[in-house]
Assembly symmetry: C2
Homo-oligomer: 309 residues x 2
């Protein structure tokens, strides 16, 4: 699947993913009204609105991009009806041949971590039958519990040719509270990056590993250092756009082959119609605003990468 991600990035010239992180406050009134009209102001009504919103955005942008990153928390907050829409969204993105990165940030130990890996990337055996579950192509994993937490994911990745992105240096302001603390002169995120590199060597695709890392766009210097520590890992870069990261901040997240990073934007794309820049589209044409924002994001990153050469 890492080979597919790399190939699709080459094909689209767009090292990006669109974060499908719907909030009810992003969804235009005409969609909410229709969904509530049909299902009432219920969890099912909210889930239906989320689905219609997602579907319109996917339909508007899928040909421009290699990948999407649905954030499961935004579906889990609606309970079971929300998780049904998470699954429906993953399935629909597969139909559109998009690589799906499940942003689930799971992490546990032993058989529990195996269960998460099975649920998100693998297949479960029930008697003599086997079933795919949420069936993302990649998922994000929290490293706090050490190798015991990551190894079960590596086993499933090897079997299914899928991948993970391990949290290394997150994009948020307080990420430094623990991640930046110095251990023998090096920050924790570098120690985690070294482990990612070790794990990545055990699980290689053609040029890149199934094991990638998450490093926030808001920390470009750390990105440059981590790029070198984990040469075979794709870096999933959140924090572009709404969180403050710009194209020029991103050049050192990439390798010289122009690959090695996939930059995520969520709100900046899916709620683009709420920005002044795209206000002319209006809420009725929110998906066209999202398409325009994707085109601009690709140009911003492409321009920055060309300027850096």
């Amino acid at each position: 699947m890492i080979n597919k991600l790399a190939a699709k990035i080459r094909q689209t010239n767009a090292p990006i993913c669109v974060g499908l992180d719907p909030m009810l406050s992003y969804i235009p009134d005409h969609i909410l009204k229709k969904a509530y009209g049909e299902f009432g102001e219920t969890l099912e009504g909210a889930a239906q609105a989320v689905w219609q919103y997602n579907k319109a955005i996917i339909d508007a942008v899928f040909d421009l991009i290699p990948s999407v990153k649905p954030q499961i928390a935004m579906y889990e907050q609606f309970g079971i009806p929300g998780l049904e829409i998470f699954q429906k969204t993953v399935d629909y993105c597969h139909q559109k041949d998009l690589v799906v990165i499940g942003d689930v940030k799971r992490g546990d130990i032993g058989s529990t971590s195996s269960a998460y890996a099975t649920g998100h990337l693998g297949k479960i055996q029930v008697g003599s039958s086997s079933y795919s579950l949420f069936d993302e192509d990649f998922c994000t994993v929290n490293p706090y519990l050490g190798t015991d937490g990551v190894k079960p994911f590596l086993d499933v990745c090897s079997q299914e040719k899928k991948g993970i992105f391990v949290l290394v240096k997150t994009s948020n302001p307080s990420s430094g509270e623990f991640q930046d603390r110095l251990i023998d002169g090096k920050p924790l995120y570098e120690w985690v990056g070294e482990k990612v590199n070790e794990w990545s060597n055990s699980c290689m695709g053609d040029s890149y590993s199934y094991v990638g890392a998450v490093v926030g766009a808001t920390y470009p210097k750390q990105g440059e250092i981590l790029r070198k520590i984990m040469p075979k890992s794709f870096i999933l870069v959140p924090g572009y756009g709404a969180q403050g990261g710009k194209g020029a901040d991103l050049v050192h997240f990439f390798n010289e082959d122009g690959l090695g990073a996939v930059v995520n934007s969520s709100r900046g794309i899916i709620a683009a119609y709420k920005q002044e820049k795209y206000a002319k589209f209006g809420p009725e044409n929110f998906a066209d605003a999202s398409r325009a924002a994707v085109v601009d994001m690709i140009a911003d990153i492409d321009g920055a990468l060309k300027a850096a050469k």
Copy 2:
């Protein structure tokens, strides 16, 4: 809810929780056969088997214990049908007046962490209506992302009078890879413990805080140190039984009031009938074996606490 947990521990004299972490391999054949007969060897069949297994164990032990800890990964591995059973299990435990600790180990930032807090502990607003979702009483939270990841949970806890347990020192062998690394002469888990103490002071029940910590039974010395760093936090202690922790290892996890810790056992209780010690019950009477194992666990911990006085 922390007040209810403390009161129920006093009432039962059992500072324990039973980990409802079902695996198909634990479930006796007669339950599997019945569920597969009704629903086929499908996800629904597996979920039905898990439900019947859980229900029998809850019915057999609920009067002896204050709390349960369902591990969501074990349900998530069956996709939506599994998560429906997670919800049904939480609801059923509430009917039995048990305190429910959702072992979900979620952790993200900002609005995403808010969404997890809403989904597991809070209520969501849909139009003019509001809905409870999974509705656990406590959940476990990963601290790797710092205060940004924990604060949204604190907000929901204050509002709903619910609580969290933050991972501090986990029970697994490789937990030391990052958690034990020294920062200015102190291991990372102590720094995390100090943050937990800071968060716990902002969110107090009567004698204990809504903010607790997870510290593995397999690390009794670290438990003793962390007990002092976080005096107002309940410690959720996994790793008893199957993972090697014994009653005598646990005494320093408690405060002098006899409270402050809740010890979890999962496999050791729910799959007790598979141990030689409880084999006489046989698979048909697996729930009676679980009850006997709960009685023994309570006696082991009570004996250790009395011996330490």
